[in-house]
Amino acid sequence: MTRGKLAVSMVLGGFFLQALSYFFLAAPLGIPTGVEYSNPRLPFAPAIFIAGVMLVFIAAIVYELLPDRDGGE
Amino acid sequence: MKRRTFLKSSAAAASGSLVAGSLMAGCLETIVEATIDEKQAAQKEEWVPTTCWIGKQDCGILARRVGGRVVKLEGHPANPVNHGTLCPKGIAQIMAMYDTNRVKAPLIRTNEKGVPGEFRRASWEEALTLVAGKVKETRARDPHAVIWQKGRSKAKAFYDDAFAGATGATKLHHGAYCSDAGYRACEYTVGLHGVLHPDFRHCRYLLSWGWNITNAGGNKLCYLTWPRQLVDARERGLKVVAIDPRLRGAGRFADEWLPIKPGTDLALAMALCHQLVKQGTIDQDYLKSFTNAPYLVKDDGTFLRMAGSEMVWDAATGAAVVRAEARDPVLSGEFTVDGQPVRPAFEVFTKHIATYTPEWAETVCGIPAATIAHVAKELGENAMIGNKMLVEGLSLPYRPVAIMAYHMTQQELGFQAVRAMLTVMMLLGAVEAVGGQRVDFSWKPNDNYDKLDQATVKDGPYNIYLKESKFFPINSNNSGIVAKAMLDPAKYGVKSIPEVCILHMTNPLIAYPSRKDIMEAYSKLKFVVAIDPWLSETADYFADVVLPAATMEKYEGPISATDQYVDAVTLRVPPMAPLYESRGDIDIYLDLCEKIGVLLGPDGYLALLNKSLKLKEPYLLPLDKKPEVRAIFDAWAKSQGIEEGVAFFERNGVKVKGPVPASKFYGIAQNPPFDGRIQRLYGESLLRIQQEMKAKGADEIYWRDYTPLPTWRPLTLDASPADYDLYLVSFKLIEFKQSRSAFIPILNELAPDQCLEINPKAASSRGIEDGDEVWVESHNAITGETRKLKVVASYRESIRPDTVGMAHHYGMWVHPRAKGMGASPNELFFTGEGYVTNTADQSFHVKVRVYKA
């Protein structure tokens, strides 16, 4: 796998994690009729969101660190 | 190492620790949980009832003690004064009690005085022996050479009465700084010991006259009792008019703010009188029946008398008769009796106030004439003159208007200003009526009604506070005047100045105005003992010995716990043993008296204590041995009819005696009303006193305010040069009490900085921005002396543009927390001529100029 593909897949993966966390795992949006509107559906959901953000940024570092097809850095 | 490797290993390490951390968190929970639950089982919880030590009114406290350690102070629910709550000071006291900066053992000074002190720790035996020796030796030479200076006495029977009585020490107190001008005025005028507060339950219209509603106590109390009654009364529709150079104190609760110029309250009160008479909203029956308004006055200002009795003009017979015989006394007119022109005192009064119009008052106090007129109109309407209300089966006059006033009495014309304010209420028939003006918690006629009326001017030599002197015949005992007398005894006719001073819960260098005079006077004392939990600034500079007192961990009392409507009594009970080597004050005094040799015997401390505590057989203290402090309170409680003795208070905290019946509450409900005591609208004896002062050669500055009716005159401080164009006033903060709390860290955090409150327009016209450091310089219009200090300016729209304010409690330097807190306005105020009332009460006003530092 080229470093480009890896980096792009990390970026996409990161955004996927963010979307997953924000829309499906975080506290639901809407008029709060109960405590479930404040607590994330999965307790570590914000951590997953942050992991997604980190993944997106680390993609740039990974891209820079990995050698390209010619072996240079 | 290559970049790749470094980053890879960092990432590995990071993720490794994250995983480890989350695993650990789970473990930590289990470990911590296990240990703590075991400890919890061992802790026994107790609630010890006691009282607050910081404030003035000793609010009831329940101290929560777990495993022998006090962890929280909460309000005692059954105590009427604070009903289960505490102000921030009461809560914070727990930190004060444990404070590691308390004086832990008796201290004896090793360096010279007048500079920060160096002390060595001593044993109680050594310290007490040293103090007792000095007191004994001094009083043998001259009993007047020992003075006992209190700030707050929390057990009058033990300290003021028994100790001062047994040792013969001259008692100095703090009243002349607090509100005593008001006490003297009320004692003289209506014969009650207090200043002014309303019958909150029924009042509908209140003049909050200088009452710092949200920060301070009001008449005779500390903080939360009156504000709670005010808040409840507001919900019932009470209207509040705040009369104050600063709005802050009344803040939230003022429906209207009259921003009065400092020191001009007498003028406003007389203008209100003028309007009330003009409107005709005066209670003629009240004036005729209960005041000396109808008494006939001769041209020389004295009453017409027949066989020693005052006379009135009886319209029914058209002649002057003795008061008791008149059927229809008149208030106005000019008459002739035996060739002498006479007129009722009220006629004299009406002529006297003819020029005190609202328009005139506007030029003096800065309040628009229309506002004064409309307040007078509202007073007249709300007074409901002629109305009665049925209270507990008694039909009593209903006059729901009143004034709340306390510390504002401490101004140059304070004595007469309060007389003027009382006159407003007398005109409305509201004094001691339902909903109306009150002075004491219940009807308790005071001796000073006669004593002040009969005050005479004696020849010298005078004692150190100039009692019965040609300077201050009515005398509130001002420690600032004491300082002046010590520094120039010849001027004041004083022969001997004190040598030994015992400081009881007081810090004169910080809390008393005119620090310079206080410092100079204290330098003249030979031996100073401070009884205090902390090393006060006064002790730092002047104490030879410091005896560490406990804070609330001691027995003390008895303490009245009345909120005016419900009577109760309580005691201070120690929630834990006195910390470090401190001791309860009563313990200290017992040992001191023993060593001085005045404890036992028929004239000793114990004998006086039997009297002052009103102990009864068989609980009288034997006069031949030193008792335990707890045993004394046990004897007191049993003498009060509480069979369990002191154990009752140790368990319950407060003995609620019950609601005060209307028949004991209202002076007007007595039979005869006011016990026949006539209210002195016209102060004939004040005129007599003035003449005696003149005859003894007193200067005009001392006798000019001894007038039968309150009379406006230009204030001394206004004679300062025109560039001293601002009035400085000081004020209280709810977070603090005098100088004994500004260093308590929790409280200090709530009010961390001293500042100069200044109106933004006044500030910007002087080039001063919000937060700038400024010099505040005061000027003494009599001596020309100036004083100055630096402080940070803080913008306030809620203060008059010609007035600046500084809070009272700062300026300390000993406690580590006190450093850098800012200066005290007491450095800027002056004492002595022009800056005290005619009754020796301290004024807290001075002219200053403010400029950028």
Binding site: V35 | E29, V71, G251, Y580, P752, M821
Partner: protein, 245 residues
Amino acid sequence: MPRYGMVIDLDRCTGCRACMAACKVENNTPEGSFWMYVFRFEEGEYPNTRIWFMPRPCMHCDNAPCAKVCPVGARYKREDGIVATDWDRCIGCRYCEVACPYSVNYFNWRDPEENQYVNWKDPELEALSGGVIPPYKNPDLDRPCGPEKRHIAGASHVEGVIEKCTFCVHRVEAGKTTACAANCPEHAIIFGDLDDPASEPSQKLQRKSSFRLLEEAGTHPRVQYVGGTPHGHGWRQIQPAGKRS
């Protein structure tokens, strides 16, 4: 299950800050940490000046932004409505502090035992207090709370951890009211079950119209204010509490 909430009557509050002191001693909060804060406001121009006061605890929002963003689930909302912080689990990332529009979160930058106003490490005191810091430390704060048995009561346990008003959960579970409400001298702070029509806060809300802070933020606070008059513009804070400047 009670639905806990608070009603603060601005017509009664005198701005005395006794609630701030009571909260501090009850919960042993360190220096600079004001779980309850009382604002003193001034508005208008002399002589038409107005002064008013506003106590501000944590709002324990029904739509709690702080609970939504906690990455480790240390900040959570309980069934009874109390928004709690598990000081065992908190990692000190401060996202809740960023998310909260009311600024009620306080971060422990220092070891709380070093931050309790006074140097309590005095041998003469330790002999009396058993070395506990502060010497008036509340023993109830170490107890795990709720059916979830988590350490959510009190302050000052760990450095590097966030803390905020807990509606005195350790007192509430023992059947008492919050420290601030219990101590208020004017009875201006009232805590209780909003679902019970006979409870004091419910009664207050029936009698007086109420408002909530930052309604537009959509947080649905459980703390409601009654009384007072709407402020004009040009209001500003006077006499702030906190560190000496």
